[in-house]
Symmetry: C2
């Protein structure tokens, strides 16, 4: 398991995700101050290229330098504000989700076992008799 | 800007991404120890539902409990190992990428300005004359 590579890939994915969050923030701000520009940025960002934050920024720089600089500033700010809480949040998120999956799975299995063994009372009695008297 | 919500969303995206990395790790391990199972897991995971790690795990639990538990264990391990380095890695990643975008953009602008002003020597002289003698 190449932990170093996983960490590197995860950091890159997070940088892209924070770019997306920065764009969302700016679209929200613009929808109050400059609605036409909010619509323009929203259309520009919906083409799927925001999946890769760096390609997105390169393209945005060529058509609207001011907005691109604003996205860079906001994502930098978000990274500073958000990342320090992430280690504990992600670990907790995963541990809690794992517990919940195990609980639901156990519940499902118990339900299945219960429905397998939910025979009619007569059958239950017959089973009890059989259990009580292994000779029969 | 709702920093708390951004942090929460980012943690959820990261948990999903680490689930994907855990699955990749397990497919790699299985391709050495149990190639048919590696192919099965690879096919199961390629249907796009791995985008949401929790939906993916829920589905996997129903068809292969052992593999689902293994994914949960590995993603928990990855979270413990990887997340502590992420705050500085993500901040550095974003700052460096921002610097690089600004540098490339400045270079492009400089190139454009240079090509605008790259006239022939005769034209330069003529321009100089015009500049020196605003009356003409």
């Amino acid at each position: 398991m190449d932990i170093k590579q996983v960490a590197k890939d995860t950091a890159r994915v997070m940088a892209s995700y924070l770019t997306y969050q920065a764009v969302r923030t700016i679209i929200n701000q613009l929808s109050e101050t400059n609605p036409p520009l909010a619509i323009w940025l929203s259309n520009f960002s919906s083409s799927g290229k925001i999946q890769d934050g760096e390609v997105y920024l390169k393209d945005l720089l060529e058509v609207n330098q001011e907005l691109a600089f604003r996205v860079m500033t906001v994502r930098d700010y978000l990274a500073e504000e958000v990342t320090e809480f992430l280690p504990s949040m992600v670990c907790t998120e995963i541990k809690q989700a794992n517990i919940e999956h195990r609980r639901q799975h156990l519940e499902r299995l118990t339900r299945l076992n219960w429905s397998d063994s939910s025979l009619s009372p007569e059958e239950d009695i017959q089973n009890e008799i059989n259990l009580d008297d292994p000779v029969t």
